[in-house]
Amino acid sequence: MNIPDNLLYTKTHEWAQVNDLEVTVGITDYACGQLNREIVHVELPTVGTKARQEESFGALDAVKASFDLYAPVSGEIVAVNKEVIENPTIVGSSPYYDGWMIKVAMSNPLELKKLLRPEEYGRLLDSEGSH
């Protein structure tokens, strides 16, 4: 299971990379694996809109089903990865790098306390019976 040490995680399988007040968001390798890495469509908000922690900021379509994407932190969306909209398969092939989705200018850094550290996320996956 690929769970990078430098990221924080949500229970809904998003990752957050914190760089001062800017947070980059994507979905985890585990989530991609659950979708057999067959991601056919990614729907993302436009730059300038607001994200709210634990609320949906977009959606992702696998072949058979759709899934909401939940924001790990609140704040203004300052960048959107147009590459994943054009070519959604890169989410599955590179979930932690090329497959990033949005960057958020975090409005409340205290919200980070709610996120899971890598070892906590690993335990969550163990309890979900990951394989």
Binding site: R37, H41, A59, D61, I85
Partner: protein
């Protein structure tokens, strides 16, 4: 405990993702659904269909019983012919969609796995004074399908005599590794192809033989995921999505499988009285005009009015766009009609298109 098909071990050895489907453990995919889908369109695919229900109807009145229970003509069928038909209730609602095989003095009915018991019960109920016997052969007779441009070539190489002359929706008998196998030119993918039936004991050998001969030519095993996307591109209905007890064959655009020339069949009275009206929904095929993926139960709207609902939707591997089937009010069913699919509160423009989304190039 869900049942395992005779090919179950093969699927597991191939590391297929197995899922429970109507009380059967079936492969959802082996590699990816998209890859499998495209492989069927380009080369060929092999499908384990042992989960489908296979019923034999025999006896002096077998033809009469089926003529009464099915929407399509049965008694005029010739030996070796296959027909597609609906089984309806008195209200014209669809109990199941089936293929019927006319053998010398009896019929084989292939029904959906999830409806098998309902169909048996319904046939037994309708039997009344008809002298007919209904046997469930699902366990003793097995089936698989081979579909795609290479299907004929591969079948010819495994049978004692070629099947090239077999017409569409006909069947014949051939030897595969010395075992009698019934072969029909039928399928659920929009491609040329065959369905093969043999004694359950031998089906795994037939499967292995097809893979052994077809594998080097590009034949791949195909899971239920691609089976669904292939049939949707071909606009073939799926019971539970496009068909159900509240929907008539006319709603679903299947009138060519309903013979109103017959003296009587269950549901006929209702179908004769159906006239186009707003509440008379019609099944349409639509394409999204923007990137996106429609899904079952999403709302179809036009100028602020709710006019229908999506029954099936996918991102089409062949067309590389969101496509779907939907029931809409009759007046909005014309090809070219513009409508919106409501995807997560957003109206995504779509257009009614001609069915099917995909049809194979036919040989001259």
């Amino acid at each position: 405990m869900p049942s395992k098909t005779p090919i179950y071990n093969w699927h597991v050895q191939r590391r297929a993702k197995m899922v429970e489907f109507n009380d059967w453990l079936m492969p959802l995919y082996y590699t990816t659904m998209t890859e499998e889908h495209l492989n069927v369109r380009q080369f060929g695919g092999l499908f384990d269909l042992c989960h489908m229900g296979r019923l034999r109807v025999s006896g002096g009145d077998a033809g009469k019983l089926l003529e009464y229970v099915l929407t399509n003509e049965v008694e005029s069928m010739k030996e070796g012919q296959v027909s597609y038909a609906l089984i309806c209730n008195e209200m014209g609602g669809v109990i199941d969609d089936v293929t019927v095989y006319k053998e010398f003095d009896r019929y084989l009915l292939v029904v959906n796995a999830g409806n098998r018991l309902n169909v048996i019960e319904w046939l037994s109920k309708q039997k009344r004074e008809f002298e007919a016997k209904i046997e469930d052969l699902t366990q003793s007779l097995s089936m698989c399908a081979i579909q795609g441009p290479l299907a004929q070539e591969i079948v010819n190489r495994v049978t004692d005599r070629p099947v090239s002359d077999l017409p569409y929706y006909s069947f014949t008998s051939r030897q595969v590794l010395g075992n009698r196998t019934l072969i029909s030119r039928t399928g659920y993918t929009g491609e040329d192809g065959f369905e093969l039936y043999c004694t359950t004991m031998y089906i795994a050998r037939v499967w292995d033989r097809l893979m052994e001969v077809g594998g080097p030519m590009g034949l791949k095993p195909i899971g239920l995921g691609a089976r669904d996307s292939l049939r949707l591109e071909a606009c073939m209905p799926l019971w539970g999505s496009e068909l159900d007890l509240e929907t008539t064959p006319i709603n679903a655009g299947l009138e060519r499988f309903v013979s109103l020339k017959k003296t009587n069949f269950v549901g006929m009275r209702r179908m004769l009285h159906l006239t186009p009206s707003p509440e008379n929904k019609r099944l349409v095929a639509f394409e999204l005009q923007e990137r996106g993926v429609p899904r079952k139960e999403m709302i179809i709207e036009r100028k602020g009015m709710h006019i229908g609902e999506v029954t099936s939707g996918i991102f089409s591997p062949t067309l590389q766009k969101g496509i779907g089937l939907a029931y809409v009010e009759h007046q909005f069913s014309m090809v070219g009609t513009e409508l919106n699919v409501v995807i997560r509160d957003k109206k995504v423009p779509a257009r009614v298109v001609k069915k099917p989304f995909y049809s194979r190039r036919r040989k001259l």
